[in-house]
Symmetry: C2
Subunit: 505 residues, 2 copies
């Protein structure tokens, strides 16, 4: 028993060290994105690479193997506290996966993706898929090899999905996404045919950056961002980064012709940050001091961005402050018209700019293509045509060129296959969680309308945040809602909301 205590301490210390390197790399990354001087970037990137490599090395080091071997002995495992036990399971998963990939193969892959990102950037600008294709093909081949090394489930793509959404499978996703699509596509058609279209011109005006920043800071204060444990900065691609429990930063981007991007983007990142700020301090310095999954994390950002901040009660409260901050732009606008404008639905080509409803369809296009690739039903060269066909089928739009089509996202160049579904999963989780919150606190809408977010934050903390990565997404959802993942809640929410906005009976 004494030895278990000693070994537990040693293992905790080892994890803390890994997390320390990760934290340092995280701050360096944040700094590069928010204000590091240009000439220092190249050398700094090497340091980030070095620190990340250190974390990777520790995750596959013989010491880690020994910890896992020791703690997984049944008589030892029986004595362990839950945090150590779950941490070991998490580390073992990583260790096994990494161990199975020969170091040289992995290094070759890292070099390839780093090169591919540069090529992709140029290919996107030139709308030249052929330029990127050979790189993409090799990245796909590497991932196919990895799947063989890691071992595949019922569907080979499952192995990739599991990296971002532990436990999720094609067998689960296929009916979920089909159900979602079957109800979203007709709804979208009804919306498009509605004679009651919002006037979106009212949100395209001139918004000085400093004014936008002040309003974003005001909103963050209102919804309860802890500025003693975070800060708001500017970067070209907004993100949230949890460096430690007391330092979770967010960034945003200000477009001077439309403030919606910065506002809803900031609130989106706030949702991520609130999660990371509220993980139980018991998990600090462990590999469990993280979100349960990409999808659960996204559910938190989507909840605040869409379900809260794009809701009617929210603007009943905050339209007056918005007018005060932007008297020239919104002084003569009606609250209802603003609410409808920021909820405008429009099938478009670019995922990152799409609305709450069609967003899910963008994700499904990628899901279908990735699934086809990893079941060997599609070749790299066929991707552009397949992409365009799917956009036509799901969204009714066709990219004029690949730069705004198959080449639009960096993910594939970075080797991130299996990642996209998390975005749509986030929306589904968010809808299910909202129903839990409504059950817990009867006056959900009234609280939003009163600008009283503390009970909502507490509810999220209790159900989701505090647990960090102690539970899998499925365990978490079952515990919170008593249900498995479903598309119905999301569809019901979208249907009610948009029928009202578009006056569809």
């Amino acid at each position: 028993m004494q030895n278990v205590t000693k070994q537990t301490e040693a293992f905790r210390h080892y994890m803390k060290r890994m997390k320390g390197f990760e934290e340092a790399a995280g701050l360096l990354y944040w700094d590069m994105r928010t204000g590091a001087p240009r000439k220092g970037i190249e050398a700094r990137s090497e340091v980030v690479g070095m620190l990340s490599a250190e974390v990777f090395k520790m995750s596959v080091a013989p010491e880690m193997g020994e910890f896992i071997g020791y703690f997984q002995q049944p008589e030892i495992a029986a004595e362990l506290d839950e945090v150590t036990k779950r941490s070991i399971a998490e580390c073992a998963k990583d260790y096994e996966r990494s161990k199975r990939v020969p170091a040289e193969l992995y290094e070759e892959y890292v070099a390839l993706t780093s090169q591919a990102e540069t090529i992709w950037e140029e290919a996107k600008t030139k709308a030249d898929f052929a330029m990127f294709a050979p790189y993409l093909e090799r990245i796909i081949d590497f991932n196919k090899q990895f799947i063989e090394l890691w071992g595949a489930g019922a569907h080979k793509y499952d192995t990739l999905l599991d990296m971002y959404e532990p436990g999720i499978t094609v067998a689960q996703l296929d009916p979920l996404f089909a159900g979602l699509r079957e109800r979203i596509v007709p709804l979208l058609r009804e919306i498009q045919q509605s004679p009651h279209q919002p006037d979106v011109s009212l949100i395209s005006q001139s918004f000085p950056k400093e004014q936008q920043k002040q309003f974003c800071l005001y909103m963050l204060q209102q919804i309860g961002y802890d500025f003693d444990a975070g800060r708001l900065d500017e970067s070209s691609h907004p993100f949230a980064t949890g460096l430690n429990l007391g330092d979770v930063r967010i960034t945003t981007r200000y477009a001077e012709d439309d403030m919606s991007g910065a506002l809803f983007g900031t609130i989106h990142e706030f949702g991520h940050a609130l999660y990371d700020q509220n993980i139980s301090s018991e998990l600090a310095g462990t590999v469990l001091c993280n979100g349960a999954s990409m999808g659960i994390h996204e559910s938190q950002s989507r909840f605040w961005e869409n379900i809260v901040a794009r809701s009617k009660p929210f603007w009943r409260k905050y339209f007056a402050p918005l007018q005060r901050h932007f008297p020239q732009q919104f002084g003569r606008v009606q609250q209802e018209d603003y609410y409808r404008a920021v909820n405008h639905v429009q099938p478009s080509l670019i995922r990152t700019e799409s609305d709450e409803l069609t967003y899910n369809l963008h994700v499904m296009v990628r899901y279908e293509l990735e699934k086809a690739i990893f079941s060997n039903q599609m070749k790299t060269a066929d991707l552009p045509v397949a992409w365009n066909d799917k956009y036509k089928e799901y969204l009714g739009v066709v990219p004029p060129h690949d730069g705004v089509g198959v080449l639009q996202d960096v993910h594939w160049a970075a080797g991130l296959f299996g990642y996209f579904p998390s975005y749509a999963l986030g929306n589904m989780y968010a809808a299910q969680l909202t129903n839990v919150i409504r059950r817990d606190i009867a006056n959900f809408e009234a609280l939003i309308e009163a600008g009283e977010f503390a009970p909502i934050r507490q509810c999220l903390h209790r159900h989701i945040h505090q647990h960090g990565k102690m539970l899998t997404p499925a365990e978490l959802l079952m515990r919170v809602s008593g249900q498995t993942l479903r598309a119905d809640e999301l569809v019901d929410y979208l249907t009610t909301k948009y029928k009202e906005i578009y006056k569809i009976s």
Copy 2:
């Protein structure tokens, strides 16, 4: 030969890794001082500690011992390039020093100083030397032990001096400082007796922070700070930090009742930063990518702060811009009066707030006391009285309590004995270097008056900056000026400048 190449590469890689950890720790430190959220600081400090420990461990690791042993073999040393050879010498010095201190002893010392800093802070506030004395006594004892372990020269204090100013000794400093004092003290008396005292009230006005910041940025642009390789931020104690050659940041502090602090402080840190930005890229990633010594580094900051920015030609050029930035405060002030006010001499109690002339006397007080401590001529308990006596003797002022006397600086609590002399050495080096620059570029004053600093920067780059730590301070000075360190240049410069200001014939 092939083996030498291979080993050289391995050693360079090893050094680069050490520098990488140092760079990461440096950025984390900068961030903590400039804007990290309060609640994240405690965990962040641990990460900084971890990264610094990593650098220390690498500097005393068996691998380092092997590199040193290998490269110091005469037949191998003969084949080495200069950078590797000098790097090995630098690493060997550290290695030997660290190796001689038992790890437990060193850890005990680190814990002591960290505790002592906290106690010192309270003791200073309470002006209670007795509270701090037992800690100071132990820190001194530790340092005496270190001197024995490291080996002492003619004077035990030499061992400590060498850590900050390689090669400097009491035997050199005693006559230098005596010579300086002998001429400065009478000059100071003449200044004090002069009927022509500057009107300092004109610099004590109200200066909004944002306006000060704009003027500091303007001045940095004028004197040639490379903002693509640095940035200006705010911190409670100003500093410059060279993270890598392309990222050398400076900070300043804005006092709203006097803008001189922020202005001259910013230019001071610029001097440090310009040095670090201009070390030869050949030295990047080596232990030589650093200043030659504390004193040489300080010479660069003092050169820009005092010799350039507190000069008459400088204000002939920049008084008009100053008036434009601060029309209400300086619109009716005469250029000459402003120049005299910012060069006002006043013996005072606090080193960090002292003027260009008396600054050296503050340093000498500490030098005399430290020397006496390490030659066992003074006990810890005697320091407050000795301090006050020396202030009376050198500066003619006596602290009303120890909080503004012997307890004013953190250095001793941090174990930094031997560090203070660098500040005065910086002034001497700066004066000697200025004479070299005057020889190199005939129109030194005219260039300043024209705001053309490029030739001056190039001169510094050629003589000082590019060499990094390739040369010792003495080598560098001899190479640049053909002289050893002297006090005369500094005294001549101060005498000429202040006789003119105070109209002393």
